[in-house]
Amino acid sequence: MPGDPEPMAETSGAMVVAPARVPRAEPGINDLPRDLLPRVLSCLDAREAVQTCVLSKLWRDLWRDARRINASCRAFEIDGGGLDDHGRSLFKEFVNRLLMLRNPVSLDEFRLWYYIDGDKLYADAAEPNLWIRHALLCEARSVEIFAWHDKLELNPAVCTSEHLTSLLLYSVVLTNGFFKQLQNGCKALERLILQECPINDIEIASQTIKFLSIGHICWFHPRPYDPAHQPSLSLPNLIHLGFFDHLAYDGDRIPLVKNMESLQTAYIDLLKYNDLPVDDIRQFLLGLSGVTKLEFCFGFGQEELMMGMDLQWCPKFNNLKFLSLVNWYLDANFYELIAFLQNSPNLEHLTLSLKLKQHAKVPGALMGWAGNRLFTGEHLKTVEIICSKDDPAFHSHREFLLAGGISDGQIHIKQ
């Protein structure tokens, strides 16, 4: 019911507790339920969110109730220029004040974009560690840290929380003891996403993590350095594993899988790992063998392995329904395909992602092999070949599959 048609009268010292009910043709945001406004502010960069304090009396303190903080260093960039020392210093003060002055309502999410000056690695790491600790004390369920220019040194002791369920770290150093601390200190953690992280701690163990992604430009870097040290994975409740696009040096090894018994899906790209020992691959694939959905790519130097006629490196994938083989560009990949097909009796959907136009011809020896009915599963419904239009490789792959007993109606091309 429209009340006083004039805006709330000016009274000194009075607290505004309700928005003015001004009848207007245009609906105003101030008419929304009060608790929705901080939610809108949660979508903004933190600096902009606080700046809404000048919009009106109602908005003066709304930012204090926002439950998500997106604090980006970039908000303090100079127009057209970048971020200078002064800007970085302003940002530090901003976040300090924000955390101090906001209302003690629990946080849903804390996201931080932070510039690390390589010359001041330790000095620059002090504040973010404190901020993360503070966010966790505010019961943040999700924390995302994006560092750039250099790596953020994260103090594992900071990671203690009963509420944290999701953690994303971009360009953060995971020191020795990091995973043990997560295991003991963050008992609700279910999701861990790592990108561009040097991982010094190589025993990756967790009872609670369900979703783990060790992705782009991560690398295992055990300290003290010992090439015999092999990383290990022990995650009995893990449902999805992403392991891809790492920075790998000669001699680097892929992890020993101790326990991934609940695993259902995996995205594995070993492209940068050269010349892996057969046993490493065999045990790794064995650790994955319970999945229903797999996207897979071999590394360099695996040709001999793949072409070994006994194909013993490939375990049985009895639950596998969806298989996608990516970065396909070697003759040896055909052997890889045969190995997987022969060991996946329940496969329903196959996708081949062809990378280059190089391989228009299937090796003669293989075609003969294929004639022996390479594929025995009755459940295969579709085969999708992803390549550019008019790629001659499509036809050779198609012939290969036909020779192996797959019917033409099942094969599709996708660009």
Partner: protein
């Protein structure tokens, strides 16, 4: 697209999938929707749990959502609903549409006038539809980004009761953000 003429309360599409009838606040419109779509609303989910078996009889009335808004909300739910409502966490059935397709849909979906947008965000909050709430709040937030206070006030229909002195005082108080 979601608006259906008055239909019998009996759930069941031609494919036999369970449906639920939702009724707008003024009782002027009844919508029969797939269960999977309706259950995107935690509020509806709770109402069904509480009402038990008799729920589907007369349909579920939503006292805080008018017909026009409900129709639009159900457009969203139909698009975003998983292919089957009986998806266990293990299967994690994805929505029937592809991700790019959904993004395009979302972008178009929020190209509405401010009044409709406010109604949608309020309805999404009441109905507890997380995806729609995120989408509408983000849309409003995007209207704030990069604008001066005066521009924001104009877009969002805010009247500032601050005198210039008061506004300065607020700015000083939070100088660390300006």
């Amino acid at each position: 697209m979601a608006a259906a003429a008055d239909s019998s309360g009996d759930g069941g599409t031609s494919s036999g999938e369970k449906t639920i009838v939702l009724v707008s606040s003024d009782n002027s419109a009844r919508f029969e929707v797939r269960e999977a779509a309706a259950l995107l609303s935690q509020t509806v989910r709770r109402m069904i749990d509480e009402a038990g078996a008799d729920a589907s009889g007369d349909g579920i009335t939503l006292p805080d959502v008018d017909a026009k808004t409900l129709a639009k909300v159900l457009e969203y739910c139909n698009k975003h609903a998983p292919a089957s409502s009986s998806s266990s966490a293990a299967e994690a059935a994805p929505p029937a549409e592809g991700e790019e397709d959904l993004e395009r849909f979302d972008r178009e979906f929020v190209r509405v006038d401010m009044g409709t947008l406010y109604s949608l965000v309020t309805a999404a909050s009441y109905l507890k539809i997380e995806g729609l709430l995120n989408l509408t709040c983000q849309t409003i937030a995007d209207m704030i980004k990069g604008k001066t206070p005066e521009q924001i006030r104009k877009t969002l229909g805010i009247t500032s009761e601050f005198t210039p002195e008061e506004e300065d005082e607020v700015r000083r108080e939070n100088a660390w953000a300006f």
